[in-house]
């Protein structure tokens, strides 16, 4: 392999890079090689401009005003909802609930859907590779309502055993909560098949799509998934916003989560009645400017051939995976077939934090730690890993810098 990307790739990461000002700014006098995209992606100027322009042209609070700016802001906010709807392939715009992030989207399902339905002993099926955001809300239901968590293991290569998952679904299972893509292993779960099997047993499925929506082309209708959670800041969009997709029929049955303005139909001293979804779940002033930024981010992604982005990311992963084979002191964790562009590894005698510190001084930003996935760390018998995660703007040349920096770290620490 060479540092040149194959000519077949229709996607040009260098052209895209120009949209990300921050990538051109050196750290410690060295070019920034930003490989911490799994934690958060950088934002293109199209997103930052859209937000600033909106805030300085059309801003007001939404929904309840009859004046010009309020109308403009409401239109922008609702247009953003439709942009998300199309991005996820949802049937209806009222299936799109804006939240403050991916974590809150999952908590909304826990509080609004599951909590009123849980009896002591009822089960929630989840996998050992879940992010804490898709674990702790269920632990709450264990602590507070006696729910039982049923953990499904992954194979040594990080792939999910669908049979094992199906076997874990029993008569007391109330929900399957699993990730679409593991933020540590890169594993892509066969969501459509899992949903079909869970539905055959009458159990709904919540997919944590915080990584999934970044790397896969999602169609919630085709997946038939019941809930799908995404987060703006990993999708090249702003912080402070996420989305819960929920099937209309399920959202309608859910009780509200936060109480406040906008989510009510009527409030008196004695009684309160609630608005229909999605308003029922959007209490208070929503992330208005952020909705505009999120729509701009999705538009940005769609301005490319998304399959070509995907191919580019897979190329980077393959190139990096091949590159680290030269290091016999390095063990990759997660090698599932078809996995997304996330590379976690452990290094003999080198702690992830030391490694990350040395890489950092070479300009290479990676993540070191448990990645909010402690049960998975335990599964693989590690305390932490080092993780390089690739976005559309990364290049093979950057992978080369990573590899060189790894070799240098070995020299320093080895």
């Amino acid at each position: 392999m060479t540092a040149q990307s194959p000519v077949t790739a229709a996607f040009d990461p260098l052209a895209a890079r120009a949209d990300f000002e921050i990538l051109a700014k050196p750290v410690y006098g060295k070019p920034l090689v930003y490989l911490d995209n799994g934690a958060s992606a950088q934002k293109p100027r199209q997103v930052l401009d859209a937000m600033r322009d909106f805030a300085s042209t059309d801003y007001a609070n939404v929904h309840r005003g009859v004046h010009y700016l309020s109308g403009r802001a409401t239109d922008a906010y609702e247009a953003a909802r439709r942009t998300v709807q199309k991005f996820l392939g949802a049937a209806h715009e009222d299936e799109i609930v804006f939240t403050k992030g991916g974590t809150e989207a999952i908590n909304l399902v826990a509080y609004g859907y599951l909590a009123p339905r849980i009896q002591p002993g009822d089960e929630i099926v989840l996998t050992v590779m879940e992010h804490h955001s898709n674990i702790v809300p269920w632990h709450f239901l264990r602590e507070r309502a006696g729910a039982v968590l049923k953990w499904v293991d992954v194979r040594d290569d990080g792939s999910l055993d669908v049979e094992a998952l199906e076997a874990a679904i029993g008569p007391k299972t109330k929900l399957v909560a699993l990730t679409h893509i593991s933020n540590v292993l890169g594993t892509v779960t066969p969501l459509k098949e899992i949903v079909a099997r869970a539905h055959a047993k009458g159990v709904p499925v919540l997919a944590d799509g915080c990584q999934g929506a970044v790397h896969e082309i999602v169609d919630v209708k085709a997946l038939d998934v019941d809930f799908y959670a995404i987060t703006g800041h990993k999708l090249y969009g702003p912080t402070g916003i996420g989305v819960l997709y929920g099937k209309r029929a399920l959202l309608k049955q859910m009780r509200p989560f936060n109480g406040g303005g906008e989510m009510i139909r009527e409030v008196t001293r004695d009684v309160v009645t609630y608005a229909d979804p999605p308003a029922r779940f959007e209490a208070g002033t929503p992330p208005i400017v952020e909705s505009v930024g999120l729509a701009a981010a999705l538009d940005y992604m769609n301005s490319f051939d998304r399959a070509a982005i995907r191919a580019h990311e897979h190329d980077l992963l393959a190139y990096a995976r091949e590159g680290v084979r030269q290091f016999n002191w390095l063990r990759v964790i997660g090698d599932a077939p078809g996995k997304a562009s996330i590379l976690s590894f452990e290094a003999d005698g080198m702690h992830a934090h030391d490694l990350a510190t040395i890489l950092d001084r070479e300009g290479v930003a990676v993540r070191a730690g448990h990645h909010c996935a402690q049960p998975l760390m335990e599964r693989f018998g590690v305390v932490s890993t080092t993780r390089a995660s690739f976005a559309l703007y990364n290049t093979r040349a950057e992978v080369d810098v990573l590899l060189e920096a790894l070799a240098r770290a070995r020299k320093i620490l080895g």
Binding site: G349, H351, H353, T357, R361, G369, V383, R408, L413
Partner: protein, 151 residues
């Protein structure tokens, strides 16, 4: 190579981290505590044997961690054994100043010299917690052993 990195990962540090002194358990410990760095999940357990005169007769630690935290623990145990509790706490105060890049002139010159290998940490604010974990855990053990967290 970056000078600050060379400063951080000096031979002495790497040696301490690979061959930590006082690594293990103390069966007759009078004081113990667990420390935890939530950032990386690292943990350390500290065992101390304090005699009636408040002197630290023996000390040991167990746990996994990065080079900085291991070296810091190793160096600390080396330096603290034989001191009184009050002396250990004074040393800790000086150490904290040192790794945060603050004025550490309160340290005894000999101590200052021995701790100097850790001074490089001050250029890495995100790693200060790694360097201080063992010390906080030692303090927590002396105070009765509640779980310490890197701060």
């Amino acid at each position: 190579m970056d000078d600050t990195l060379r400063e951080l990962y000096q031979e002495v540090i790497l040696d301490h981290s690979k061959h930590p002194r006082h690594f293990g358990k103390l069966d007759d410990a009078t004081n113990t505590a667990q420390g935890h760095n939530p950032l990386c999940g690292d943990r350390v357990t500290m065992y101390l044997k304090v005699d009636a005169d408040d002197r630290i007769q023996d000390i040991a630690f167990e746990g996994k961690g990065c080079a900085i935290s291991q070296a810091s623990a190793s160096l600390m145990t080396d330096m603290i054994v034989g001191r009184t509790v009050a002396e250990a706490e004074k040393l800790m105060g000086g150490f904290l100043h040192l790794v945060k890049g603050e004025d550490a002139s309160g340290l005894d010159p000999d101590d200052r010299e021995r701790l100097d290998v850790m001074a490089g940490v001050s250029a890495f604010p995100m790693r200060v917690k790694c360097a201080t974990l063992a010390w906080h855990t030692m303090k927590s053990a002396l105070e009765g052993g509640a779980a310490a967290e890197a701060v």
